[in-house]
Symmetry: C2
Subunit: 337 residues, 2 copies
Amino acid sequence: MTTTTLAHPAPPEGPGVPPSLQRAAALVAPAIDRAVGRLSPELRAPVEHHLAGGGKRVRAALVLLSAAAAGADESVGVVGAVAVELVHNFSLLHDDIIDEDRERRHRPTAWAEFGVDRAIIAGDALATLAIQLLLEDPTPERVAATASLAAATQAMIAGQADDMAFEKRAEVSVAECLAMEAGKTGALLACAASLGAVLAGAPEPVAEALHDFGAHLGAAFQAIDDLLGIWGESAATGKPVGSDLLRGKKTLPVATALDRGGEAAAALRAVLDGPLDDAAVERATELLVDTGVLAELRSLADTELGLALAALARADLAPPAAAELRELAAFVASRDR
Amino acid sequence: MTTTTLAHPAPPEGPGVPPSLQRAAALVAPAIDRAVGRLSPELRAPVEHHLAGGGKRVRAALVLLSAAAAGADESVGVVGAVAVELVHNFSLLHDDIIDEDRERRHRPTAWAEFGVDRAIIAGDALATLAIQLLLEDPTPERVAATASLAAATQAMIAGQADDMAFEKRAEVSVAECLAMEAGKTGALLACAASLGAVLAGAPEPVAEALHDFGAHLGAAFQAIDDLLGIWGESAATGKPVGSDLLRGKKTLPVATALDRGGEAAAALRAVLDGPLDDAAVERATELLVDTGVLAELRSLADTELGLALAALARADLAPPAAAELRELAAFVASRDR
């Protein structure tokens, strides 16, 4: 029996939504509730507000399928799925403060509702809770999973630090941008994709192949996400189109366009050097189209998705779970997810 | 050979400073440097700025003496000492944001120097680094130490959440205040005092006695710290006298005074209900003296110190380390540390 709680809206449905996401939502929701229920009341309020916004549970689904792909029952991955979701939501709580985002998924962000201070420590509590959960039963597999999650968390934080630093720089190379995104987005997805296998005690090559799969999937995801951050749709992302540009974020489309050189790139540089108002964002968006970066990033996403699937094919995985991982990857890397 | 780096000013010296603090500073400084050196450059800058402010390394010394008390070499405790100091400094980085403290130990706080955003993720990075360090070599002892540190971190965050909530309340009971301080201050000190023994693989009763010692020491420390927060000296604490009152903090002196009832308590309540300006703080400070809370808290600190020493006496510890723990406890609970 699955119960829908206040903190967890119904999982996404509709054509194209992989069943693995719905299963993940149903499996982790009660476990997340139990975990969050252990926090002190003062911490629970902002945490529950934040979690009530939902989320697609992509990372949870990756952990569960990773366990199944390694031949274990999906239930073996649940603790890892919960831990990864807690770390993901810790990062969202702090990122929303840093990005000054007042809305997430059409609801006030935790800091907008409870103040910056409570949102800071709510995030701190979730990151710590993830470690506590995994180490509650310190089997060698769980300990390895904890170390993997801590490393991914550190890489994610470093990526966030670079992202912030890039906003203040006039130019960022494509390589720097890709490295930043590999940390900020890729590290936790790679960790999630291998964590189920780690918890299942899978051989190192299996966990490594799944880790590579997740890293490439992260790159594909981020390329699409960067496009959505400039060209919409706002309905899907919940953030106003152009907000990345308005903030001076050096996302991959910008870095790629500037890197190309030529007339459009020079014009774009001039616009981005000036005051970033709505008119500048509109002009920059047009110039980005002129540079052909839209097609290039779609192509990059396709390439990374291909590399992800190739990594998957490398390992000896349970066929049904591997099929579901491929389906989930296609969904994550699609433009209208 | 010990080297003094930019990030670590010379350890405290002078009459009354226990040698264990100086040994701890010398032992952990290079290990902290190495650990922080693994962070990305963008994170390192605010972290190194913060750490350059120094600190007495009380928690590090507790971990090292805890290992020695359990019969191991102090070196067994170094990784734990570093991890506890990292968690402590994570909390300071975030607390300074929350308390809007622009100065710590007569230098700009990290958020005042680098902005709130970078201070947030600098703290996040330190908390994560602590876990990574301990799990680098996942022996059963280190895994147990990691779980203990995560639990203490969570308790500390919960205490911080309560402290913030209390500021918005008109009244807080003494019991609530003590529970808050047991989390905010006591949990990490208790963890530190037992962590060396945990890392040394000491029997459970030894670790437990040391944990109790640290918890009582935390209560003694906090009682004194609360007094210093109202009556100074500013030179020792680096924060302006009266800042706790000005902020509406429901520290133990305030909770105790209000709990006593009577004329002075009623007058104090009236002052604290009004606008908190410098005159109100001066008047509240006088009224606190009238309630006799100064003597009461000094007495409480003495009692808690006694309980700490009793817990220590309960366990079978190596005599030289036990003697140094007693010396350190007396120093921590002294008014002019």
